[in-house]
């Protein structure tokens, strides 16, 4: 270590923070150099002044409770941010995907989304229109495929008898029973007419107790 390097270590020698080998090099040079000894005195004066308490300097008046309050506030904020993170990530992903897409792709995607929304709206409206009746058997339909009749079966009639009667007039139950044990049946296209079906039903004694046009 040359003299200049030793001199540049003097402040830390004065502060007592040099490594032992560095301190030894300083001491060896100090023993030889009155200038360095004078300079050391200056550093010692600076060190004493810096380390001494300052008149008029405020005392630290903080308390650990303030640090805890700061930590708890930070942790509350952190929890709120984390709770929002999944939505924010999804939003960021959608935004980035949208921005990365060519204009043509954006238009195609927008049209697809519009179609999906329109289909969804149509489906929802059809569901609302259907909500007026409850299906017991067969498939429900918004638009009647054929004439509808109200029928009450005998309580003793078996399922096989019911099936045979309905097959005979090419009909199916689409609603019921009501509290009065009435079923709504729908005639399919192969039926000759509602009147003929009514006659056939009324003739089915032991199976059909009552038959009439729906709403009569």
């Amino acid at each position: 270590m040359n003299r200049d390097e030793v001199r540049r270590n003097l402040p830390w020698y004065a502060a007592g923070s040099l490594a032992p080998e560095e301190a030894a090099a300083v001491e060896a040079e100090l023993a030889r150099s009155p200038d360095l000894r004078r300079e050391l005195k200056e550093w010692q004066a600076i060190e004493s002044a810096a380390a001494a308490p300052r008149a008029g300097e405020p005392e630290f008046r903080g308390h650990v409770a303030q640090a805890w309050a700061r930590i708890e506030a930070d942790e509350r904020t952190e929890r709120r941010v984390q709770a929002r993170a999944p939505l924010a990530e999804l939003g960021a992903w959608l935004r980035n995907t949208w921005l990365a897409m060519p204009v043509g792709g954006r238009v195609a995607l927008a049209v697809q989304l519009a179609l999906i929304l329109a289909m969804g709206a149509t489906f929802e409206l059809s569901q609302r229109a259907e909500s007026g009746f409850r299906t017991l058997a067969g498939s429900a339909s918004t638009t009647p495929a054929g004439p509808r009749l109200s029928v009450a079966f005998e309580p003793t009639a078996t399922e096989a008898q019911l099936r045979a009667v309905l097959a005979g007039i090419d009909a199916e139950i689409i609603a019921g029973p009501t509290p009065e044990q009435l079923y709504t049946i729908e005639l399919h296209g192969r039926s000759a007419s509602a009147e003929a079906a009514l006659r056939q039903l009324r003739a089915s004694r032991g199976v059909v107790r009552f038959a009439a046009r729906d709403g009569e």
């Binding site: 540049r8 270590n9 402040p11 830390w12 004065a14 502060a15 007592g16 923070s17 040099l18 490594a19 032992p20 009155p34 000894r37 004078r38 005195k41 200056e42 550093w43 004066a45 600076i46 060190e47 004493s48 002044a49 810096a50 380390a51 001494a52 300052r54 008149a55 300097e57 405020p58 630290f60 008046r61 903080g62 650990v64 303030q66 640090a67 700061r70 930590i71 930070d74």
Partner: protein, 210 residues
């Protein structure tokens, strides 16, 4: 000229060579406390607060001259210790880590304000606030006048003086905290002394060597 944005922790930099020879036991205790804080030990955190809060406050105040901001810096530093204790790998002394955070927070608090009183690193004389024709003054007055002159140094010079003479950190530790080469640290402290020299000469007397 002002401070540039600095990395938060000296831990992220080069491994720090030998720490100050004094205070090794205290440093060992601090390492244990930080490890315990990483495990969310509240008592260890409070022990660290007791050891460092007033020192961080003094450091921040001597750089900022703002009591309120300095108190905020203390809480910011303690929050950072609580949050980052697990990342403290022990490559640097705990005081280096903690004062690195303190310096970063203090400079952030000061951002936008005038950071310097007097010149930057340039070696211009710091005016003696109470010049005296006397060649020698008593120790108490000498100390006060030197302190007043120290307060008129640039922030960069004050932080080196504080860390070296008040916190007892060696130049390697200070370089890690200030994120600058060791030679820059030595240059800053020598420029500081250069500014104080006329005052030192008057206070200690010409040819004060005995």
């Amino acid at each position: 000229m002002g401070f540039e944005a600095v990395a938060l922790s000296p831990e992220l930099g080069e491994p720090e060579p030998a720490a100050a020879p004094r205070g090794d036991e205290a440093a060992d205790e601090d390492v244990r406390l930080i490890a315990a804080v990483a495990r969310r030990d509240r008592r260890s955190f409070e022990r660290l607060y007791t050891k460092y809060a007033s020192r961080v406050f003094r450091f921040a105040f001597r750089l900022s001259r703002d009591q309120g901001k300095s108190e905020e810096v203390v809480n910011d530093v303690m929050l950072e210790i609580w949050k980052s204790a697990a990342e403290f790998a022990g490559r640097s002394a705990p005081s280096t880590w903690i004062f690195g955070i303190a310096r970063h927070r203090t400079l952030n608090a000061l951002r936008g304000r005038t950071l310097y009183i007097g010149d930057s690193d340039e070696a211009a004389e710091v005016a003696d606030p109470a010049p005296s024709p006397e060649a020698r003054v008593d120790g108490g007055r000498m100390c006060e006048r030197l302190q007043a002159a120290l307060d008129r140094l640039s922030v960069e010079q004050r932080e080196v003086i504080e860390l070296a003479f008040v916190e007892g950190l060696n130049y390697r530790q200070i370089a890690a905290i200030a994120k600058c080469p060791e030679n820059t640290v030595k240059t800053r402290i020598f420029h500081a002394k250069k500014k104080l020299e006329p005052l030192l000469t008057r206070l200690l007397g010409e040819g004060g060597e005995s």
